[in-house]
């Protein structure tokens, strides 16, 4: 469904040299499959997401490789065609919460706009109802009231959920989620991920989750790809991976996750509260 082959992205310099930021990436996600993309900060995960969204800004360019979605190369197609695919067949949840929402428009309207821009035949009323339905589905209480709120009136977690709702509004066949649950309460986080998971199983949506949290990968993904310094260093079945991570970076990530969970547990024991889940 989504096939990335030999993708190299970086900055070409005037002297003819090329400073690559991700190099020779190959990744394949099939319909109904959930793949976790993990790696440290700065490994190149987000750049890969940008490449999929067609948002490499100069001076950064893709030098070689293809990103095929249902057979069509997203990198090679022109912007107008890509625009009709993004947000409809292939949707992205980008990290950042509130900063990702247009500060001057009510949340419900923004979600409705994503639907109406892709399908002009949908009436405003229908789109608005759909927006409220989705806000409800991502666990926002009083969704009909919240749809009338401006982004600055939402908490960070709520804004992040609104972004998820926005991505789901056109019933995409493929979902790329970059740190989709950052800043969200652990309980809601689980609910969202369960929802993703069921989309994956029941509606055969392809899922690429980009995260630093191996716990999420362990629970919700079928396969895992580890990125380090712009390259995929390990690509394995989840069971195999957690039994015996091969690459040193994978092992380091595993240790870090375990430590973080222990600290969080200790913290909640001391304070009696459930800390907000970190990405």
């Amino acid at each position: 469904m989504l096939e990335i082959e030999g993708l190299t992205v970086g900055i070409p310099h005037a002297d003819g040299s090329f400073e690559s930021m991700i190099e020779d990436i190959a990744l394949r996600v099939d319909a109904g499959q959930a793949v976790g993309l993990v790696g440290e900060a700065g490994a190149g995960k987000s750049l890969l997401v940008h490449a999929i969204a067609g948002q490499l800004r100069p001076p950064v360019v893709a030098r070689s490789g293809t990103i095929r979605f249902e057979g069509q190369d997203l990198l090679a197609m022109n912007a107008e065609v890509r625009q009709t695919i993004l947000g409809r067949d292939l949707a992205l949840v980008l990290p950042g919460g509130r900063a990702r929402l247009d500060p001057l428009m009510k949340v419900g309207k923004q979600i409705a706009r994503v639907q109406r821009d892709h399908d002009g035949s949908v009436s405003k009323k229908v789109a608005q109802a759909r927006a409220i339905e989705l806000l409800d589905r991502v666990g926002i209480p009083d969704a009909d009231l919240r749809a009338e709120a401006y982004p600055h009136e939402l908490s960070g977690g709520m804004a992040q959920r609104a972004l998820v709702a926005m991505a789901l509004v056109n019933r995409p066949r493929f979902l790329v989620a970059d740190e989709p649950t950052s800043g969200i309460d652990v309980t809601i986080q689980r609910q969202l991920l369960e929802d993703f998971s069921s989309l994956c199983r029941e509606e055969h949506v392809g899922l690429l989750i980009v995260t630093r949290d191996l716990g999420i990968v362990a629970h919700y993904c079928d396969r895992v790809a580890v990125v380090s310094e712009g390259r995929i260093v390990e690509d394995a079945d989840v069971r195999t991976f957690f039994k015996s991570p091969e690459h040193p970076v994978s092992q380091e990530l595993m240790r870090a996750t375990i430590l973080e969970r222990q600290q969080a547990a200790a913290w909640s024991e001391q304070t009696g509260t459930v800390g907000a889940g970190r990405s």
Binding site: A53, G54, Q55, R57, P58, A79, E80, R82, Q83, T84, I85, L86, G87, R88, A91, L92, L94, G96, A99, R100, L101, D102, P103, L104, R113, V114, D117, H118, Y150, H152, L163, M166, A167
Partner: protein
């Protein structure tokens, strides 16, 4: 009106009257410091002392400061701005005759400046990276950057002189810089707005003459004061363009028209602010251009009043200009609140 429910707008309106009072106080207080005896100035240098004393009593120049101030504000409320000894008319009449010309000049200049600078700024903020226009855009960016600095470095009055030298003295394509109309074609004043008066009079000759006389002063003002507008449009658009929400809108596959709309609307507030600042400033700040082109406007009136120590006139000039600025800022704030829900708090 939903805006009236906004706490910000309510606060803003609530403080407006006290601010106005403070402005009258400063305008009044400052002019009290002017050297010379107002009664003597009004009576003329050769009047006998008895006459001067009589005038002083009559106008209450000997009263305590507070009494004079209260009387001043009381008169203002009734539309009495005092009398100008220089023009021999009530100041309110002078203002009615002079203010419209200046308002028209700066409004036309602002509209022209916006018409040029906003599209140019939008273009420069997102230069084409590929295609045949990429090279043009590359140089456009440089030219605009230099122009931004140059516009802030030129004296408007000098630029006005250069324009006169080139287009009037050398090329002879511009009319003489001695007013808004050629001699003898001024339409009868109804509104005192030269443009409106020409239209009311259905006088095409006057209208043509007016437009011809306005080209150079407007060009000078647009060149100098369009610079900051252009800079702000470029800076604001560029910042919004690289914002996370515009990125998200693109990633959601929104139509390019929608994305452009999001960008434009979000970059509006700082642009509105700079427009307000410039429009507010120009009423009292286009003085030198007015003088050079012989446009007998409001700024010119104020400068003359100070030069000949015409108290009431100078005071009224300061007052009107300051109130103009405050109203402009108020309008900008309201517009700001209308655009941005975060400001309404």
């Amino acid at each position: 009106m939903a805006l009236l429910r906004s706490p910000f707008i309510r606060r803003r309106l609530f403080f407006f009257v006290p601010q106005l009072l403070l402005v009258t106080f400063i305008a009044f207080g400052l002019l009290q410091l002017l050297p010379g005896d107002p009664a003597q100035a009004r009576a003329g240098p050769l009047s006998p002392p008895a006459k001067v004393e009589e005038l002083r009593q009559e106008r209450g120049y000997n009263d305590p400061f507070v009494t004079q101030y209260i009387r001043y504000v009381g008169n203002l409320v009734q539309g009495d701005f005092g009398d100008s000894w220089f023009t021999g008319q009530p100041v309110s009449k002078d203002l009615k005759e002079r203010l419209p010309a200046t308002i028209e000049l700066i409004t036309i200049s602002l509209v022209v400046a916006l018409g040029i600078m906003i599209p140019l700024g939008v273009r420069v903020a997102a230069p084409k990276q590929r295609g045949p226009m990429a090279v043009v855009d590359k140089y456009l960016v440089r030219v605009v950057r230099f122009y931004g600095l140059l516009a802030g470095s030129l004296a408007d009055f000098w630029l006005a002189l250069i324009l006169i030298f080139i287009f009037y003295a050398t090329l002879g394509v511009s009319p003489e810089p001695t007013g808004a109309f050629a001699f003898g074609v001024r339409p009868p004043p109804v509104t005192y707005f030269p443009f409106l008066d020409s239209v009311i009079d259905l006088n095409l000759t006057a209208l043509k003459s007016y437009v011809g006389h306005l080209v150079l002063p407007v060009a000078a003002l647009v060149f100098v004061y369009g610079g900051p507008i252009l800079k702000m449009v470029v800076a604001s658009m560029a910042e919004i363009r690289s914002s996370q929400y515009v990125e998200n809108a693109q990633a959601m596959g929104l139509k390019s028209g929608t994305v452009r709309f999001i960008q434009l609307r979000n970059s509006l507030p700082p642009i509105l602010t700079i427009i307000g600042v410039i429009y507010g400033f120009l009423l009292g700040g286009a003085v030198l251009v007015e003088r050079i082109f012989g446009l007998n406007g409001f700024g010119n009136y104020g400068v003359n009043a100070v030069l000949v120590t015409d108290w009431d006139a100078a005071q009224s000039f300061m007052l009107v200009a300051a109130v103009w600025v405050m109203i402009t800022y108020l309008v900008v704030d309201i517009a700001h609140a209308a655009v941005d829900p975060r400001v309404r708090l």
